[in-house]
Amino acid sequence: MSYTLYYFNGRGSAEAIRLIFAYAGVEYKDVRYEQEEWPKQKPKMPFGKMPVLELADGKMIPGSMVIARYLGEKYGLAGADAVENAEICGIVDAMVDLAKEGGALFFEEDKDRKEKMLKKYLDTTIPSLFDKLNQLCSKDGYLWGSKLTWADLAFHRAFEYASAHHPDKEAILDKYPALKTLRSLVEQNENIAKWIKERPKTKF
């Protein structure tokens, strides 16, 4: 197999990558380390973090968005030139804060801090991002151009981050009809549907 993906046993910041692999129908070794194994594996990673993508020649690429972009561009889920690819990456870059805050919320143990974080997440972070994304999507149904790109798959992951902490998962996108349609479109893709059904069920 050409590719090995290293991450924890969860969706987290690796899941957008797995969605891209699934959509493109590209095989890869889906290595998942439990927390207890991680200290032993950490020195093997380029900068002591995961996810990392190992290529056929052993080269290791770190950075979840870097990996997703590399695969998206390699498997036809991007633009026609450097500027278009950067536009697409810029859209995904805008989703990073939501993902980071979602992750921080998941791990926050202090009740007061968590409550404040959740309020900001629900009242500000999610709406301001989804508002902009909905505008982009309203033209042709996709976040960029008139075809599916890796940004649309990254959006599905962002939606999952948002819905993990939202009191009413199915209602989040009611205010963003174009995004609601995009979410369905992604989930109805045969490869994505199969992956979502079969992927390991994990806490994060």
Binding site: P46, F47, G48, K49, L55, K59, I61, P62, G63, M65, V66, I67, R69, Y70, E73, K74, A82, V83, E84, A86, E87, C89, G90, I91, D93, A94, S128, L129, K132
Partner: protein, 227 residues
């Protein structure tokens, strides 16, 4: 001069003249028009400005003064973004990477470019941790974060970067955007005597970046700001 030689000389000059005209026209067609939009600070914008400077590429260095007025027109309500030939690209690292890859400050192919971007991703992660520590208000948490930074994160990344050095710069004897990014993040940290001793090769790279003529010139002429 005898007519045949005269003709030859004339035609050589003619073809040289038109070749240079074509080259200029092609250059003007080929060179995109860039407008880089950020605040009047170094912050997240300086890496892209460094890339433009080192690559000697012209661009409009637009600094926002009335953010409230401009925010609604920014692609995601954030800065920086780059306007290039009517398109708009958001995100400090995305923009720096685009300019670097288009103007000879990156790798030779998509794998090399991804590997470089991966290193920059780790550098940016470290930078975030550094600022989280700096701005932490809770005393106990701050002490914990400072300890983690000094004992784990700083040695880990400096060790990796030091091991990577492959010449005057990280990837050989020519600079890339990763060297410029590393300089902006680590230049102050690297002034420490212990760091100089332990990560000598990497500190050498930072000195080389500082001595690049285009970078020197930019640092001298750039607008002054507190951060």
């Amino acid at each position: 001069l005898a007519p045949p030689t005269n003709c030859i000389i004339k035609s050589i000059f003619a073809s040289l003249f038109s070749a240079s005209c074509s080259a200029t026209v092609l250059k003007n067609i080929a060179m995109p028009s860039y407008k880089f939009v950020y605040f009047n600070v170094r912050g997240r914008g300086e890496l892209t400005r460094f890339v433009f400077a080192q690559a000697a590429v012209e661009y409009e260095d637009y600094r926002v003064s009335d953010w409230a007025a401009e925010k609604p027109t920014a692609p995601f309500g954030t800065l920086p973004y780059l306007e290039v030939d009517g398109k708009r690209v958001s995100g400090s690292t995305v923009v720096a990477r685009l300019v670097a890859e288009k103007h000879g400050l990156a790798g030779k192919n998509d794998v090399e470019n991804a590997a470089m971007a991966g290193v920059m991703d780790a550098v940016a992660d470290y930078h975030t941790k550094f600022f989280e520590c700096l701005f932490e208000k809770d005393e106990a948490k701050k002490a914990e974060k400072t300890k983690d930074l000094n004992e784990k994160h700083t040695p880990l990344i400096l060790g990796k970067l030091n091991d990577m050095v492959a010449g005057k710069f990280l990837y050989g004897d020519s600079p890339t955007w990763v060297d410029l990014g590393a300089y902006l993040v680590f230049n102050d940290v690297a002034k420490d005597d212990n760091i100089q001793k332990t990560y000598g090769k990497f500190c050498g790279v930072l000195k080389e970046v500082e001595n690049l003529p285009n970078i020197k010139a930019w640092i001298e002429k750039r607008p002054k700001s507190n951060f």
